[in-house]
Symmetry: C2
Amino acid sequence: MIVTISREFGSGGRELGKRLSEELEVPCYDSTILKILSEEQGLDPQYLSHISEKSIQASYPLTIGHRFSLAPDYGMDQAVKVAVEQRKVIEGLAARGDCIIIGRCADVILRDRRPFNIFVYANKEAKLERCIRRAPEGERLSPAEMERYMRRIDRDRAQHRAFFTDAKWGAKESYHLCIDTSGVEIRQIVPPLAAYVRTWCAARG
Amino acid sequence: MIVTISREFGSGGRELGKRLSEELEVPCYDSTILKILSEEQGLDPQYLSHISEKSIQASYPLTIGHRFSLAPDYGMDQAVKVAVEQRKVIEGLAARGDCIIIGRCADVILRDRRPFNIFVYANKEAKLERCIRRAPEGERLSPAEMERYMRRIDRDRAQHRAFFTDAKWGAKESYHLCIDTSGVEIRQIVPPLAAYVRTWCAARG
């Protein structure tokens, strides 16, 4: 049973993954993947986080499309290298056994293992409310600032996915179940969701 | 508990609705809505079915965009009249109590009752297989013919929705749960789905 979770920023996808992990009693990996990678490769975790989560375009705005045919670009090269290494970590984790993986194009990377792919989304109001509620004291953004920030993160995720895969981020056709979390508590919907995932995985054989 | 189901042709949305209705023990309405309407209005059921399920554009290709400013067009007028009457029947059914309504823009019509809106989809292969398996003896289309037919029905549904509502057909943002039925038996996924719907409706209050 391999479950992947993609999500809009602020939709509660990470919380859903963590709770689903407890309910299904399987490990859940998210930024832990980068931690494993930073330990394996001796790289700075913050650098890894920057290079793997930003969109390629956002990180290297001057090189894409301009110097593609020139000598290999260091930043570009590093981003692809990190993606390749991250892919290996994800494949290794899935090979170990049942698990949930949040983000990182795991649904595409693990396609051959036929994972159950979930996309989590919510309406703008619900996402804003969640983000503002969760922001650490002293880091509160105004609703307008938060909305811009949310949009940027989602755009980065979509661009990152478009660069490394052929599956469109957030298009329902890429997922087995798309879940709107607006107006409900995630802890309440997780138990029946876990039953759905269990049944689907057993039915699919 | 009001549940609406929109679906791609061949995805098994109707079967899912019927089975969910048994599981939740609430009535399920689909083409029965037209039957009620035909009895109420003394109209031919086949005519009603034609006028309500085709896209407006497909039914009246010469009038839209060309004669809009001229005298009211009979066909156009009738289509809108049927949509208005159908809307009243749907509102009446929902007012009676818990139910499941398949198609007919019920998610938009019943918006104020805050229904749980499901969209059912599947990949092309799964839909083709289902449609060909279900076709009556002697009415078998070739896979290519069936694919064209499937696309036409879905296009009609999308256009019908676009004409009568502001919500995009099949866009996940319009639904609370989008379900891919490819590769699984619908009877197997319905029990956990029913639990999810029950939980969501209770959690939403």
